[in-house]
Each structure stands twice: as C-alpha cells, then as structure tokens.
C-alpha cells in the first residue's frame, strides 16, 4: 500500500493515524477496488459486504465507522444496509464529530419509519439537539428531518421549538424547516409552535424568513384556511422582498389562499403585475403568471377589463417564451398555456400559430406538452391540419415516394417497423436529419391524442367523416408493435395477469389498435351516412389482416376486434362479402387473440346469412353447390375452434357449429331447380313441365337471418337502464326459479342458445364505450362544404394555417388510401354542377359564343329529389356519394336514454370517479405511491382546538366529577351494608359474579368508547379523570360496577373480593382508554 493511499485513507477515516497498520479497507480502498474489478464487481461487492459485516461489529469505533461509511457507499448501488441499523446508532452516538457525521449520514440514508432502533435514538437526538456546537446541532436537525417518526416528533417538539429562537440564524432556519417534517408526523405540534413560526416571518435574517415561508407554503396547501390571517404579513413580504426564491414561494402560497378569500385577488393584482412588468428573472416572471392562473386570479377577474388586460399581458409574455428559442421556456410556457385554456381559451387559440409549431419540436417533452394543449383548443377548422401534422410525425422517415409505393403493394409496414427500428435510427443519423427515433409510447400517445381530438364531444369538431375513416385506417398501420401482450399466450386483454403486466409496463390503457377499432365501430354505428365507408374500411382491415398483422406481434392487431364486428353487423355494405367471409374463415385466424376470434365467430354467420338468405336468387344447381361449399368451409373453420381452450371462443363456435350443420343438412335435402326430388317442406311452385322451381331452404332464408335481424342497434347510454322504472310487483330479490342448481346442470343442453346470448354481450360491449359521450348534432353549411371541396382539389401548395390541408394530405396518408379518396371524390363530384372535372368527363361548359352549336338536349337535366332532402335521416337511404352537397347535416346518433335528465354530466363524473377509484386501488396495491409524502395528517388539521371538542371534554369532566361524588356516597352506604352483613355471616361464600358483571363490563366498554370523539385532548382529560379517581381510592367505574353487582345480587359480597374486582376493573378501564386512543 503506497503512502499516498494511507494518507488519503487517513484523511477520510479519522483515527486511522493512531493505528498505522491498517488491515481493513477504507472507503477509498473500496472505491479503488471497485474500479479495479470492472467486470466482476458483484463478487467484489459481496466480499466487501461480508467484511463490513464483521467490521461493523468491531469494538474499535474507527473500524466500525469505516465499515458504515463503506456501507453507505454500497447502499447507493442498491445494497441495503438495513441490517446495520444498530451499528449506525452506535456510530451516531460517537463523541467524535466526524464519526457522528458518518453515523447521521447512514441514518439519513438507511433508516425507515419501521426501523426498530429508532426508538432508541430519542435520547441521543435530545442530547445532540442541546449541543453547544452549531454543526452538531445542525447535524441532528438535518438527521431528524429524515428519520422523524411520530414518537420522535412528539418527544422532541419542545427542544425544536426552543431552537426556533436560537441566536444563530444558521440554526434557526434549519429548525424552522424541520418543523414541517415534525408536523407531518405529529400534527398537534402545529398548535403549540404556530405562534413562534409566525414570529419567524419577521425574522431579521432573510433565509430564516424564506424557510418559514417555505413551511407555511407547504402547510397552506393542506389546509389553507389556517393561514389566511398571515395574509397581511405575507403581502408585506411580497412587496418588499428582494429574494426571488422567497417571492416565488409567496406567490405559490397566495395561490392556495386566494380561492378561500376572493378579496385578496384585488389586493394582489398590483404587486404581481408590477413584478411581471419589472422583473428580469424568467423564473419569477413565469411563476407570477403561473400563480395568476393556478390561484384562480384570472378566473376571478374574468369579464372585467382589468382581468382581460392582465390575461393579455400573460399571454403575450408566454408567447415571448415560446418564440424565445429556449426549450425550457417553451416547455413551461406550454404548461402555463394549458392551464389557461380552461379560462381564456379564446386568447390561447389566438396563439395557435406558435403553439402548432411546437407539435413538431424536436424535443419530445415539448411535443407532448404541445399536444396536450392542442387537444384542448382544437376546433373544426384546424382539426385536419393538426391531425395531418401528427400523422406525418408517425410516418417512418422514408420520404421517398417509390418506397412508399412498394409498401403499398406489400402491406407490411409493421413488420418493417419492427425490425427496422434500429436501422431507422442509424439511417437518420447517417443522413444527419433532425428526426428523432420516436419511442413507442410516444407514438402510442400521439395516436390516442388524435383519436381524442377527433371524437371530442361526440365528433363535434369532425368536418369530414370519410377523411376520419381514412385516418383511422392509416393509424392502424402506424401502431407501435405490441409489447408484452402477445395474443395466444393468455386469455386476451381481459386476462388479469396480462393486464397487470401491461400495466406495469406503463401501458395502462387498452391497446391502441383496440382504441382505433372502437372509433371505427363508433363511426359506423353513429354516423349512418358513412356507414358504408366505415364498413369498407373494416373490410379492408379484416381482408388484409394476415398481411398487415403478422402473428409475431405486429402493432394494432386488436383493431380487428371492432372491425370484425362492423363487418358482420353491416354485411349489407360490404364491397365484396364473398372475399370477406373467405378471410374470416381462414384457418390462420385461429391464432388471433381469443377475444378477437370470438368476434370473428360471431361475424361469420352474419356475413354468411347476408350471402345466402337472399331468396330472390334462383336456387339453381350452381347456387346450391356454392352454398354447400361455403357452408362446409364455415363448418370446417368452426370445428377447428370448437376445441379452443378459450371458453368464449369454444362456446360460440360450438353453438354456431350446430346451426351450420343443420343448415348443411337442409341444403343437401333441398333439391335444386330442375331436379325432381322429394320431400322438402315447401315445394309449391311446380310447373307442369319438367322444370321445377325450388326455393332456397328455409333455414337459410328464414332461420339464420332471424338470429340477427331484429331492431337496429343504436348507441345506448350505459345508464339508460337505470332510468327505466322498476314495475310494481317486480321483486328482483326473489329467485326466478328455485331449482337454479338443477337448471345449471342441465344447461349443457342449451349450448345452441348461448350463441345468441353472445350477441347480446356483444351489444353490451358496444354500448359501453359510449359511456362518456354526449349526443351532439353538428351542422355544416353547404358553403363550407364547397369551400373545402374546392380547396381539396387545388394543386399542392400553401400549407398555411387555414384553407388547404389537402396539399398536406398526400404527405401523411398512404398512396393507396389517397388513390381511393381521389376516385371517390371524382365519383362524388360527377353530378356536381359546381365541380369542374379534371378529365374528359364528356360534359363541357356551355360556350356563350358558340350559341348556334349549342344543343339544348345536351344540357344535363338533373332530377331534384326534394322529398328526400328533408332530414338527415332521410338521406341515409339515398346514395351518399351521389348527393354530396346536400349533405349539409351529418347526423350523429347519440346515446339512447340520455338527455332525459339533467344529471347526465354528473353521472359521467361519477363514472369517471369510479373508474379512477378502481385505478387508484389497483395502484395502491402495487405500491405505486413511491416518493409520495404522506401528509394526510395535515389535511384539514385545524390550528384551533375544535371548540365542540373542548366543550365536550369539559362536560365530560363535570359529568365524571358528579358521578364520582354520587358513587362515593353509594360506596359509603354499601360499605356500611357490607359491614353489617359481615358481622352476620363471615363464612358465607358469595355467588360467582356472572351476568351482573358481564353487563357491567359492557357498560364500561361503552363508556370508554362513546364520549371521546377525537383522540388528542380528549384522551388527556380522560387520563386526568382516571388519576383523580385513583386518588380518591374509589374508581368510578369500578364503583359503579360494584354497586350494580351489589344491587343485582342483593347479597353480601366480601370486602376482599370487592377490592380485587375494583383493581381489575381499573386495569380494564385503562385498557379501554388505551384502545380508544389507539
């Protein structure tokens, strides 16, 4: 060991000079050793820990101290030193300051509330708190601020209160600050120390004042009411202070006070606006604005010119932050603006130019903030623009058009996305582009935000649903790949373990793909005019599922859950139902997540029924064989699933399997046209000739469709059922069938029906997601519609704030989607007289100069169907594409059963609260609240002792006194009686004190618990009472009991026994009180 090392070690570990030969490692050696053992640190650490264990037990304080210091160092790397707490305490009590300091540091780092040696620390801390050395004193105070427990707080409060008046401001500021920690553990200390705390606001030393403000600021958040009387003092500080840190705290403090005392607002405005105008410190400026917003000052002044002026000033300053270029200022400005949207949305919206720029900021933190803000301020005008920007972000940075075309053909974006993740970053780095590799959860968040924005207030801001459907399809392709939750391993999304896993992984919510699916379904159900488009989009997703969502966890696969449902429910809108059913019954579908498969099983018969139920198609041999083939294939697929390990899938598959088998039989028996066979149930239309016409089998035309044709599904609010009054005489408690158990055992036979039940749950799920949405009918003027149509077809160009977004569309929508949009647009505009087609539409504008050649017959005559244009619903029947201009109103179906009562909003909140509650519960269970400081003690804690408490206590004391008096008299009488009885019969054995004592005990318990409402003061009085009673020699309750016992028995209990009883009852009473206090 070199001399250098020794010196270093010596300087760190005092006392080591006394023992020149060191066998133990110092901290220095440990660190050097760690650095020397790169690679196998673990083994080295284990060995060192082992050494520390023995060293900590050493009698030599230096060695012990060195061991503890090493342990603190290793604790930093995650090696708990909880086992060493006793040794830590030993080092803490060392006489040498350096060792003491190590001890305190160890305590600070390793002690927890449940560390058992904590209760041994009281005296040590008391001693150190009275040390004349300010550094020892500060060590103890600082240590206490970490390790304080309720009992330590209670015992040390007087010492600390004294220290708040210490002559040295260095101690005063620390003593003041530690008081907050004391209050957290022992709120009663607040009452005794508050006057002194208040004095500290006038302290001559600025740091002490600052510490005091700090403490009051924390306290005021828990219960602002208590600190309103301090307002004048604080106000004075606000106007005179030159300390920015403290000013910030005072402003935060006032922000908690103003909601309780609106009069403060007027008073605060001048000094705060003065600071805003004059300060050079950005932090103070920001906190002033923040204080104005979060303290509700702006809200309070809303409407007045003064308030508006102030708000405008704030907004201007924040705008300055945004354009300043400093990313930190940008970030905080966005935070503040987000808060301001609640009260001054219109002012914030005016700044949308700079805010929207932040969406594309290179800093993800800023993007997220901006996104949050934009969601709040988005309206019909900018929705498409914002969404376009966001989708462009999600787009993988391959701006090469050719590549995009390739992708269109292959449809394996997600696949590429997955293994391209690494490449992607490399590529961008090579190119030196500013693009960041976006983390998956950011993508996830963006998609959710887009959906949130678009669906807000039941699509109040949605200008164009067809565009929305295209966006949704596009989003599916950009879904980040599924993490953890791989279908087929568990029971799908509903599986608890899976869910939990996803939860801890930070997902927390439903899969993004599922969310997108919900939107698609939502649009399909609510907006009838685009139901066809929605269905076609779903068809596309289902049809290409195997390519778009490879089994190895491509993202967004869960969109199929809703897509399959839409395909089934609206089979009549399918572009190509034959292909769709083909893709539904592909064998590979069995590997999809089970809940998706279950939806598939439900969708198959619906599409099947659409294909086969049409009885106007002649039942020819060809038809028969097609249907037979289809049926067989469906059966084949369902048979595959009928042994699925997932109950839901299995149950539905088995149910429908039976129906299809019946169908197949019926088809086989039903002869086709032209062939004479015999015995089916309807064969009326017989010709005399050879030709015989048969209808398709009834099971296809009647039975299967009847499973699904009923009323059209409408969105129903989940609470709608509640509004249905329960009919008289309906007893929901009474068992419907007393033989329930028998029925359940026989339920196996009803498997076929369960399929239908499945449809019901399907519908229920469907309604669930309308939970938070309110019905809104949005209107769109024809002018707007035309404007947009015009804008859409202008060539790419201005990408400015308003107007054309179409130019941007081709940069974020994939080419295939664009091509389709274009085709649709052309189709739609064909009959539009205002639309000038681009190609040879065959129609020319009449040329006024060439009047002669003008042929009157060539003027297209359009039939105006006035009858159909009446209401939005009426339009549904017509071809949507044919009547674009007349679609001035898109009807969005609201939830049925809503809007009848006013409490809907409230109910929503309630629902939210419940959902939140459940979540909180889940979190708590997982110990998620780390870093959280438990301040529940201080919430609602009043500085004043509650008056009713005092009154109650006084009353109780008075009552107790009275009772004692009364009892004393009775006791005296009883004693006399006993004396007399004793004189009569000395040897008689008294009866055991059975029932009488029992009742007495009960009474006693009641007494112990009943009157004492709140712990604290009540408890102490009670103790006093007890003491008094003891002094008097006759315990109140004991006496009472004896009295009763005596009265009940009417016999002559012995004095000796009585005494014993008395003693025991005293103990019990004490216990009762103790319990109560606890």
């Amino acid at each position: 060991m070199s001399s250098r090392t020794l010196r270093a070690a010596g300087s760190l570990i005092p006392g080591s000079r006394d023992s020149p030969i060191m066998f133990e490692k110092s901290l220095y050696d440990l660190i050097r050793g760690l650095r020397a053992h790169k690679g196998n640190e673990r083994a080295y650490i284990t060995q060192s820990l082992q050494e520390c264990r023995t060293e900590a037990k050493s009698n030599d304080m230096d060695i012990k101290c060195a061991a503890i210091l090493k342990l603190i160092y290793l604790e930093m790397f995650g090696h708990s030193m909880a086992w060493a707490s006793f040794h830590v305490l030993e080092v803490m009590s060392s006489q040498k300051f350096v060792q003491k300091r190590v001890g305190y540091l160890a305590a600070v780092q390793s002690f927890r509330l449940d560390t058992d040696v904590l209760m041994l620390a009281t005296n040590l801390l008391k001693k150190d708190l009275s040390s004349p050395n300010q550094f020892e004193l500060s060590l103890a105070i600082n240590g206490l601020s970490h390790i304080v427990s309720p009992s330590l707080a209670r015992d040390l409060t007087p010492d600390l209160i004294a220290k708040m008046n210490h002559s040295n401001p260095y101690i005063r500021k620390k003593a003041v600050l530690v008081m907050y920690k004391i209050f957290l553990q022992f709120p009663e200390a607040l009452r005794t120390s508050f006057p002194r705390l208040r004095e500290r606001l006038e302290d001559s030393d600025e740091t002490v004042v600052s510490a005091t403000v700090n403490v009051i600021c924390e306290l005021a958040r828990k219960n602002p009411k208590n600190y309103l009387p301090l307002a004048p003092q604080l106000f004075n500080l606000l106007t005179t202070s030159k300390n920015n840190w403290m000013t910030i705290k005072i402003i935060k403090l006032f922000a908690s006070l103003t909601p309780l005392e609106p009069r403060l607002v007027k008073k605060l405005i001048p000094p705060i606006s003065n600071i805003i105008q004059t300060t050079t410190a950005m932090s103070l400026l920001y906190e002033c604005i923040n204080g104005l917003i979060s303290g509700g000052l702006l809200t309070n002044l809303a409407g007045t010119t003064e308030g508006e002026d102030l708000a405008v000033i704030c907004i201007n300053k924040l705008r300055g932050f945004l354009v300043e270029g400093d990313s930190n200022l940008k970030y905080v400005a966005l935070l503040a603006l987000t808060k301001m949207t609640r009260t001054h949305g219109y002012l914030v919206s005016a700044e949308k130019d700079v805010i929207l720029e932040c969406i594309d900021d290179e800093d993800v933190s800023i993007r997220l903030r901006a996104l949050e803000l934009v969601v709040g301020m988005v309206d019909e005008e900018i929705l498409q623009q914002v969404v376009g920007r966001l989708i462009r972000q999600l787009k993988p940075p391959t701006d090469d058009e050719a590549e995009a075309m390739e992708k269109e053909d292959e449809y394996d974006y997600d696949d590429e996305d997955d293994d391209g993740e690494e490449k992607l970053t490399r590529k961008t780095q090579r190119k030196g582009k500013q693009t960041l590799s976006l983390p998956d959860d950011y993508k996830d968040g963006v998609i959710r935000r887009i959906i949130e924005m678009c669906s807000k207030d039941t699509y109040a801001n949605m200008p164009d649903f067809e565009w929305y459907i295209d966006v949704l399809v596009q989003l599916v392709r950009y879904c980040p790949s599924e993490r953890k939750r791989v279908g087929g391993t568990g029971h799908g999304a509903l599986d608890d373990e899976d869910f939990e896993e996803a939860y801890t992984a930070g997902a927390g919510k439903a899969d993004v793909g599922e969310e997108i699916g919900r939107e698609l379904r939502n649009v399909a159900v609510r907006v009838k005019t685009v139901r066809r488009q929605a269905t076609e989009a779903a068809e596309l997703l289902v049809g290409r599922s195997s390519m778009m969502f490879p089994a190895t966890g491509g993202g967004g696969r869960r969109v199929l859950l809703a897509a399959a449902w839409v395909v089934g429910e609206y089979a009549e809108h399918l572009r190509n139902p034959n292909e769709t059913i083909d893709s539904l019954i592909q064998a590979s579908n069995a590997s999809l997540p089970p809940d998706v498969v279950a939806t598939y099983v439900q969708a198959i018969p619906k599409v099947y029924s659409y294909l086969t139920s049409n009885d106007s198609i002649a039942w020819t041999a060809a038809r028969k064989s097609t249907v037979t083939l289809l049926t067989s294939r469906v059966i084949e697929f369902l048979e595959l699933l009928s042994s699925s390990p997932h109950l839901e899938v299995q149950e539905r598959a088995v149910g429908f399997l039976e129906i299809f088998r019946l169908g197949k039989e019926a088809i086989a028996e039903q002869p086709a046209n032209g062939i004479r066979s015999g015995d089916t149930d309807e064969n009326d239309d017989e010709d005399n000739g050879v030709q015989v016409v048969y209808d398709p089998p009834l099971i296809l035309t009647q039975a299967i469709p009847s499973l699904f044709h009923g009323f059209e599904l409408n969105p129903v609010a989940p609470r709608a059922q509640r509004k249905v009054p329960i009919p008289d005489g309906l007893d929901l408690e009474a068992p419907i069938n007393p033989q329930l158990a028998f029925l359940l055992s026989a339920a196996d036979y009803d498997a076929a029906e369960s399929g239908e039940d499945g449809a019901d749950t399907e519908a229920d799920e469907e309604f669930e997601r309308f939970y938070y949405q309110k019905p809104v009918v949005i209107a769109e003027t024809a002018a707007q519609r035309i404007d947009r149509a015009a804008a859409r077809d202008t060539p790419a160009g201005n990408n400015a704030l308003t107007g054309s977004y179409q130019s941007g569309e081709d940069t974020y929508l994939d080419p295939d989607i664009l091509a389709r949009r274009k085709a649709e647009r052309r189709e739609r505009n064909r009959d539009d007289p205002f639309y000038i087609g681009s190609g040879n539409s065959g129609r020319t504008t009449p040329n006024p100069l060439g009047g002669e050649q003008f042929d009157i017959d060539s003027i297209p005559i359009m039939k105006l169907d006035l009858g159909d244009g009446g209401g939005g619903v009426g339009l549904v029947k017509g071809d949507v594409r044919g009547a674009p201009v007349s679609r001035t109103k898109v009807e969005i179906a609201g939830d049925e059963g809503e809007g009848e009562e006013d409490d809907d909003g409230e109910g929503d909140e309630k629902g939210n609260a419940i959902a939140g509650g459940v979540r909180i519960k889940g979190r708590k269970g997982r110990g998620k609240d780390i870093l959280n400081i438990d301040s529940s003690n201080l919430v609602g804690f009043s500085l004043e002792e509650p008056e009713e408490d005092l009154l109650a206590q006084e009353e109780e004391v008075a009552r107790a006194k009275k009772e004692v008096e009364k009892l004393r008299g009775e006791m005296a009488r009883a004693a006399e009686r006993v004396k007399a009885a004793n004189a009569q019969q000395t040897a008689e054995v008294s009866t055991p004190p059975g029932p009488a004592e029992a009742t007495a005990k009960k009474k006693k318990k009641k007494k112990a618990t009943a009157p004492d409402g709140d712990g604290g003061g009540g408890e102490t009085t009670k103790k006093k009472v007890t003491k008094k009673k003891k002094k008097e020699g006759t315990q109140q309750q004991g006496g009472n009991e004896d009295q009763q016992a005596a009265a009940a028995e009417g016999s002559t209990p012995m004095v000796k026994k009585k005494k014993k009883k008395r003693r025991s009852s005293t103990a019990e009473a004490g216990e009762g009180a103790g319990e109560d206090a606890g």
């Binding site: 250098r4 600082n142 840190w245 906190e287 970030y331 959280n932």
Partner: protein
C-alpha cells in the same frame, strides 16, 4: 417539496442518491435506472424537463386529486454527470434548474475544478454540501458563499483542514476524468434568460 436529488454519470452509475421520502432500496434503484433511460436518450438541445418515468406515472384523475405527487423531474447534464431533481408542483421548475447550478458551483468552489472523480472519492462531502442546501426536501440556503463557508467550517471541527482533502485524493486519483472539469462544460444554453451569468441566486 423536493422529493429526491440524484446524481449519476453517463453510464447510469449513481454518484449521489438522496431521497426525501423513505422508499425501499430496490425501488430506488429501479427509479434511478428508469430516469437514466429517459435522460440518456435526450438530445443535448432538448429541454431540461423529463416526463415522469413509468414508476411515477399517475393517471390524470389521480394527479388532480393528490397534490403531493412528484410532478416534475428537472435535470442538467454537466460533462460526465447528470444532476436530477424530482419535485412536486410547489417548486418552481426554473428555480430548481438554478438550484442545480448553485449545487454544482458550490462543489466547484470546494473542490476547485470539480470532476466526477472528486465526487466519487468524496461522496460524504457531496452529501454535506447538499445538506446545507436542502434539508428534508425544503431549500434552506441558496447563497453559494454561505453554503461553502458552512461546509468548510464544519470540516474544521474535525481538527483537520478539510480544504486539503480534495487535493490529496486528486493527486492520487487516476487521471481519466481529470481533463473535463464539470463546470467547464456545462450546457451554457440551459439558463438562457435566467438571471445573469454569475448565478448568484438573490441577484436575479
């Protein structure tokens, strides 16, 4: 209230961990690694505020109801070290940024051209400096001179001049990190607009 102060280097090795609420050691480590992952992926031009790591994330409804939750993570990157502060919303974001700056400057005054190695070998001193600035989650002192003075005077109580201590370790330490003193290479742009260049808190 400040919830935690962390210092770790570019590879995520902790150099200082101070939690102002008592949490399990294993959780501490998890939190550190989560924050490190967040911070390590940030470009130098990004802002100094981190999103909450998964461990601290709350759903919005909770965040509203529970005001004691840590809501902000502020970091600064100096040469090889990240300085992190986790705090709730009663602290000022921009203020905490300056607080980190004050911390680093104090260290720089004590160690004279502080570098990562100083902090490794004198981690007790590191704790002392921090304790002079933040006590139990509350800020006690922001004046650099006072902080440095207190630490130095406390060291004198040990009857051994503390000021020589860094030199001892420094002369003996390997010179790997020596060339980049922390204070020389901190990001200059971080405090744009926040006060003057001399970082004296009360002067802003």
């Amino acid at each position: 209230m400040i919830n935690a102060v962390l210092v770790f280097n570019n590879t995520g090795q902790p150099r200082l961990t101070k939690f102002y609420s008592q949490i399990d050691v294993a959780l501490q480590q998890r939190l550190i690694s989560e924050i490190f992952t967040l911070v390590a992926n940030r470009p130098p031009s990004a802002c100094n505020f981190l999103p909450l790591p998964p461990l601290l994330q709350k759903t919005s409804s909770e965040a509203l109801s529970d005001t004691d939750q840590p809501t902000r993570i502020i970091y600064r990157h100096y040469a090889t070290l990240y300085f992190i502060i986790i705090a709730d919303d009663l602290e000022s974001e921009l203020g905490l940024l300056d607080l980190i700056q004050v911390f680093v400057e104090c260290l720089d005054r004590i160690f004279e051209n502080v570098c990562e190695l100083d902090l490794i070998f004198n981690f007790e001193t590191l704790h002392q400096v921090l304790a002079e600035m933040i006590q139990g989650g509350g800020v006690v002192e922001v004046d650099r001179a006072t902080i440095v003075d207190s630490v130095k005077r406390a060291a004198k109580v040990t009857k051994r001049p503390q000021a020589t201590l860094p030199d001892v370790t420094r002369s003996g330490s390997p010179s790997s990190g020596r060339s980049t003193p922390v204070h020389m290479s901190h990001r200059g742009s971080g405090v744009t607009g926040i006060g003057s260049n001399d970082f004296v808190w009360s002067g802003r």
